[in-house]
């Protein structure tokens, strides 16, 4: 297959999603200003507009301090924007909800619950019968490769395993959108690669909408249909890039695909040109 040039970046606000599907998340002129005790206020996000189509895997890529996590928290309903509005399926987001499932870099597992207890927590909260919740949790744990660890406490697991539990715990209550906040950022390179592979395998099964925050160009290109490039001070969208690579993706194949390499080089070049060159590659 030939090397196709990257299309000039689409403007923000244009519907995203490979099949131009119905929008599931709409971010409309969102700004976030944090009051600081001294000097001027910190503008974390400046006039962000973005639409995410149903079933799309969209990455938000940017240097640290560009407000990409804040944007995710706004969609999650954990943080209210200073101005503008975020909508989920047309309804304004006013707080957290089971339709949007977060997965954090810090895992945020409940340490007093066993692995099984963590994954069952959401379904039980939704009123599912314990026997059914347990069966569901066991299925999900098998899917993330943790069969045999059901009775373990989080403290007994490695970072990669904790993140697998966190993913299973979030999937268990059936959110329509996964909000992943640098989920593999705290893991070593090898574990990170394995979790990326497994995440794609899991995603291929039901193609849930994913909003994925990362500062790794390779990770964004490898996983996503769309990469939203952000710049900082103030945080704004500078480019939205379609990643037109075949799915299902396999790392061994992609690494030999010149298009994959080209996306990475082009994106890195764009960040370099803007002076936002603090992306670890």
């Amino acid at each position: 297959m030939g090397v196709t040039p990257i299309r000039p970046g689409q403007l923000a606000g244009v519907p995203l999603g490979r099949r131009a599907a119905t929008p599931i998340i709409e971010i409309d002129h969102v700004s976030q200003v944090f009051k600081t005790s001294s000097r001027r206020d910190h503008i974390a996000l400046s006039d962000i507009s973005l639409t995410v189509g149903e079933g799309a895997f969209v990455s938000i890529l940017g240097p640290s301090g560009c407000g990409k996590s804040t944007l995710l928290y706004i969609v999650g309903g954990f943080v209210s924007p200073t101005s503008g509005i975020a909508k989920m399926k047309g309804k304004p987001i006013t707080g957290p909800g089971t339709d949007r499932g977060p997965v954090f870099q810090e895992f945020a597992l409940f340490p007093w619950k066993s692995v099984l207890g963590n994954v069952m927590y959401g379904p039980l909260q939704q009123g599912m019968k314990a026997s059914k919740a347990e069966a569901l949790a066991r299925t999900l744990l098998a899917m993330v490769g943790l069969t045999g660890f059901e009775k373990f406490y989080p403290k007994e697991l490695s970072g990669g395993m904790k993140q697998r539990v966190a993913l299973a715990r979030t999937l268990a209550y059936g959110p329509e959108v996964l909000l992943m906040d640098e989920p593999f950022g705290a893991l070593d390179a090898h574990t990170r690669t394995r979790l990326q592979n497994d995440l794609l395998d899991i995603w291929e099964r039901d193609r849930k909408t994913v909003l994925f925050v990362t500062h790794s160009v390779e990770e964004a290109v490898f996983l996503s249909d769309k990469v939203v490039m952000m710049s900082r001070s103030p945080g704004r969208i500078r480019e939205v890039i379609d990643i037109d690579l075949p799915r299902p993706r396999r790392r061994e194949e992609l690494l030999l695909d010149p298009n994959y390499q080209r996306y990475i080089v082009e994106i890195e070049r764009m960040f370099d040109a803007s002076g936002d060159n603090e992306l670890p590659s």
């Binding site: 089971t98 977060p102 409940f110 909260q125 403290k155």
Partner: protein
């Protein structure tokens, strides 16, 4: 220390202490300083005397009531303070004011208002236990990871459910550290209150014996009260460890007997 010796260390320390006491007492030959053996021999009569047992049990009952009431009040308050700035802003100055006041110093006023009975003594124990428990619950609740609460919120937990089902268990290691301090303080305030309001209890036996010059009984009571403290603390430590068996080792107490 080698593995065989470690569990014996407290026993050895005990024996060493008793031996030093015995020798010091024999050397000094003072009436008000009975030997360790004489004091130990005075213990069985106390523990078989119905009157004394009733007194000691009454002490323990007041201590249990005061301690339980203090936990029931202080843990929710501390957790609320840790999660709500307004609550913390309101209670913090009050607690800072009460904190350095020795609770036993309030005893005369409390006795004046509430008499010398159970209510006064239980109240002093309650006050003594409350502050460390509030403080540790507050610190524990404050330190709960925000993302953990967000995860709960995304699962549909309401703010009050989050406080009960996330903040409380997440802060439990810290809360129990406060409770352990509180337990020792309960014992201290219990004995002190009985020395001031002399009507019943272990502290009362001790002071009555002192008045009558029964020094072996005085020392026997000190041993009994001390042993009660050590046993209660050790028992609490077993419960604590079981309750927080899931927690990271950094929450382990530096002081423990095992």
């Amino acid at each position: 220390m080698n593995g065989m010796l470690k569990p014996l260390a407290p026993v050895l320390a005990c024996c060493g202490l008793l031996l030093a006491w015995q020798l010091a007492s024999l050397g000094l030959k003072n009436d008000s300083f009975p030997t360790a053996l004489e004091s130990l021999r005075a213990i069985p009569p106390i523990l078989t005397d119905k009157e004394s047992l009733i007194n000691i049990l009454a002490s323990l009952r007041r201590m249990a009531v005061g301690f339980s009431l203090a936990l029931a009040f202080s843990i929710p308050l501390g957790l609320l303070m840790g999660r709500s700035r307004a609550t913390a802003a309101f209670f913090n100055p009050l607690l800072m004011l009460i904190y350095p006041v020795p609770k036993a110093a309030l005893m005369p006023i409390i006795m004046l208002w509430l008499g010398v009975g159970d209510v006064s003594k239980t109240l002093v124990i309650f006050l003594g236990v409350s502050l460390p428990v509030i403080y540790h619950s507050f610190e524990g609740a404050k330190a709960v990871e925000e993302k953990m609460l967000w995860s709960g919120a995304a699962m549909g937990l309401s703010p009050s459910e989050r406080l009960l089902r996330i903040v409380l268990p997440a802060a439990l290691p810290e809360i129990l550290t406060g409770c352990r301090t509180g337990l020792v303080l309960a014992l201290i305030t219990m004995v002190t209150s009985e020395m001031i309001a002399r009507q019943s209890g272990a502290g009362n036996i001790l002071f009555n014996a002192l008045d009558m010059g029964q020094y072996d009984t005085v020392f026997a009571m000190i041993i009994i009260v001390g042993a009660m403290g050590i046993c209660l603390d050790a028992a609490f430590e077993i419960v604590r460890r079981w309750l927080v068996r899931w927690s990271e080792p950094q929450f382990d107490m530096p002081l423990s007997f095992s």
